[in-house]
């Protein structure tokens, strides 16, 4: 499977967010809301850490 960095991060975030939604919440609407929130936080924080590391990459 050939995934670029961003695709791998998206897939990872998607799978983990779904699992976290079911681990953390009981009702389906709460699970969906939590999973969506967790997904966007994974992406946001991943990109933020990437930019934070950027000055040290050169």
């Amino acid at each position: 499977m050939k995934l670029n960095h961003f695709q791998a991060m998206l897939l990872f975030a998607l799978v983990i967010s779904i699992a976290f939604g079911f681990l953390s919440k009981r009702k389906l609407p709460d699970r969906v809301k939590y999973a969506v929130w967790a997904f966007f936080m994974f992406i946001l924080i991943g990109v933020a850490i990437g930019w934070a590391m950027y000055p040290f990459s050169r």
């Binding site: 499977m1 995934l3 960095h5 791998a8």
Partner: protein, 139 residues
């Protein structure tokens, strides 16, 4: 004055509950989601099974490294082995497939290694939840 017969039956019921919880935890380790299925938490059982399976499948197809106890050269390799082992049966199914296909030289191989480790660690969270449900500490 406490009734000794009542105290004995309460402690024996607690002992049975503890034993049942450990059996549920063992089942949850062996097959991700089975601990929840045994307690009729069907949605969670399916989701945990599918998510752990997906992480293992993606990890293998990305040529990740699956650690073994024999190949553990240092503490980090051993921790990797423990995290991989958390996926239960999926680890033993993946071992013959992943052993010849690992590609640590490329980024995708590195990501695959992380996917495989995360599968095991995620299942450890699921095992803990199954145990807590069996102990009636969680719904």
């Amino acid at each position: 004055m406490p009734d000794p017969k009542q105290s004995a039956s309460v402690s024996s019921a607690a002992g049975r509950s503890e034993a049942k919880a450990w059996i549920v935890a063992g089942a949850a380790w062996l097959v991700p989601g089975l601990g929840h299925a045994l307690q009729r938490k069907w949605a969670r059982a399916v989701v945990y099974f599918v998510t752990v399976a997906a992480l293992v499948a993606v990890g293998i197809t990305m040529h990740g490294t699956l650690f073994t106890s024999e190949g553990a050269a240092d503490a980090f390799d051993f921790l990797g082995y423990l995290s991989n082992l958390g996926a239960g049966l999926f680890y033993f199914i993946a071992r013959p497939i992943a052993s010849g296909a690992a590609d640590a030289a490329h980024a995708s191989g590195d990501y695959g290694t992380r996917f495989l480790a995360t599968a095991g660690v995620l299942n450890l969270l699921c095992i803990l939840e199954a145990y807590e449900i069996a102990r009636r500490r969680k719904p």
